[in-house]
């Protein structure tokens, strides 16, 4: 039975697209059939991170409006044959995506793949609501920083109100993925602590992705970080998160959060 995931955050720039690509590739490396779907109509990016920007012919909106077949719009990844991308339209308006058309696409994708990963646009407008509408589970991307955490909290509330599952009186399964976790800043006490984030959001933790140059480098190369540099710290963290999604019970590796003693003395910082 296919699972529809939405990758969402409320706030922009926290790592939704990067995480969609990295998790999609990691699941595919584990032999799963995966499609990543870009919902950011008008501001699409997932095609770039997947390295497929020159291969887009038809997009989500063409299929939703019946102008193209799903098979014509799906772009199979060149590295992994069981990984595919359904791109967003860059030229159309986000209102061009109809509820009915979307429901039909999701139904069809469920029959073709094990995982349908929806990359949500930022914000809480129509695009984000469409991305979460059919989700069975949500991955909430949060940076350890107050504004990101509050926006995530807002999104979690909407997941319980605006999704198809909520309308049926069921719950969307939720997972928290903390991204851009900066160990140096954590050591100085400049970031929200993981425990505080979990306390505020009360959603189970799927993983912690360390801040790393590798992520940006991979994106610029058009590769999910889990394919570009599988041994790097962020790639390993994403791979573990993907295995947890598949039901593996792996311990979560929380990067050290203790105060550096020297830092405390010379930084003159009170806890």
């Amino acid at each position: 039975m296919a699972k529809v995931l939405v990758v969402t955050s409320g706030k922009g720039g926290v790592g939704k697209t990067t995480s969609t690509a990295a998790l999609g590739a990691a699941l595919a490396l584990n032999g799963q059939k995966v499609v990543v779907v870009d919902f950011d109509v008008g501001l699409r990016n997932l095609d770039l991170v997947m390295g497929a920007e020159r291969r887009v012919v038809y997009d989500l909106i063409n299929v939703a409006q019946g102008n193209a077949k799903l098979s014509q719009a799906l772009i199979r990844d060149k590295r992994l044959e069981n990984l595919a991308l359904l791109p967003a339209s860059q030229t159309r308006d986000k209102d061009a995506l109809s509820e009915k058309g979307l429901a039909r696409i999701i139904r069809e994708l469920r029959t073709l793949f094990d995982w349908v990963i929806c990359d949500s646009p930022a914000g809480i407008e129509r695009g984000a609501m469409m991305a979460m509408r059919h989700a069975d589970a949500a991955i909430i991307i949060t940076n350890p920083e107050v504004s990101s955490v509050r926006d995530s909290d807002r999104i979690i509330g909407l997941l319980d109100a605006k999704t198809e599952k909520a309308a049926k009186g069921e719950r969307v399964e939720k997972h928290l993925l903390i991204t851009r976790y900066d160990q140096a800043r954590a050591g100085r006490g400049d970031m929200l602590k993981t425990d505080d984030v979990l306390d505020i959001l009360s959603v189970p933790l799927l993983g912690i992705i360390p801040e790393s140059d590798q992520v940006l480098r991979a994106s610029n190369l058009g590769q999910p970080v889990t394919l570009a540099n599988p041994l790097s710290a962020p790639a390993r963290a994403y791979s573990d998160a993907a295995r947890r999604l598949m039901g593996d019970n792996l311990a979560i590796n929380v990067p050290l959060e203790r105060f550096n003693l020297l830092g405390r003395i010379f930084g003159g910082r009170a806890a």
Partner: protein, 230 residues
């Protein structure tokens, strides 16, 4: 001895028709705020003629709002029952309707309209999950019990008391129907605003030492006391 109370000040803005539409929306969204609450109409900003004044008053009263006084127009324009208050009402002490009632992208409030049957032994609303930023729990009929936390940017509005078994980081409005005995309890206090029967305190007014502790807030002769619970 007398009784002191708080009143909303309604200050119409021009164009009046737009303001009236906005007022209707607010009244509809938050019946509990307006129900039986005394209102003062401040017409200083509108500067109406005598005929317009009478019309505006009629518009307000049509909506079954309890107007007790009108300000900003000559005394002899008003029916006797609506004499202006002595001195200008201090808006600083008057309850301002919360942000979320303004139109915009706020989530529709979660309202429980099913009034518990009379004599029902449990007139409280039990919420078994965290209240998220942007959500409103509105329950004018009695107490609200939250098993979980109330996030920053969320609000609980109760006719009775509010009990939060978790962190209270948002806003709590207890006793909105004029219940001065209502209290607010929380096991971890970090609120943005506490209101009992329209009397409010914001985060700036809170004693820092109370943060993170379990507290109760109650009214003592129109002064809100927030105290640590042992």
């Amino acid at each position: 001895m007398g009784r002191s109370y708080l009143a909303f000040v309604l200050a119409p803005e021009l164009p009046f028709v737009d303001w009236l539409v906005e007022l209707d929306r607010r009244v509809e969204n938050s019946l509990s705020f307006f129900a039986n609450r005394p209102l003062v109409l401040d017409l200083t900003g509108v500067a109406p003629t005598k005929a317009e004044t009478a019309e505006i008053i009629a518009f307000i009263e049509e909506r079954h709002l309890r107007l007790i006084a009108v300000e900003g127009v000559p005394l002899d324009w008003l029916p006797e029952r609506l004499a202006p208050l002595p001195g200008k009402v201090q808006t600083a002490g008057v309850f301002q309707p919360p942000e979320s009632e303004k139109p915009g992208r706020s989530a529709p409030p979660v309202t429980w309209e099913n009034e518990p049957s009379i004599g029902s032994p449990c007139a409280a609303l039990l919420v078994n999950e965290p209240v998220r930023s942007g959500q409103s729990i509105i329950y004018p009929h009695g107490d609200v019990i939250i098993v979980g936390s109330v996030a920053s940017g969320a609000e609980i509005i109760a006719g009775g008391s509010i009990h939060v078994y978790g962190s209270l980081r948002g806003r709590a409005f207890a006793g909105t129907n004029g219940n001065t005995n209502a209290r607010i309890f929380c096991s971890k206090f970090d609120a943005e605003m506490m209101v009992i029967d329209g009397l409010y305190k914001t985060a700036d007014d809170f004693d820092l030492a109370l943060r993170g502790t379990s507290v109760q807030a109650r009214l003592d002769r129109n002064v809100m006391n927030i105290e640590k619970m042992s």
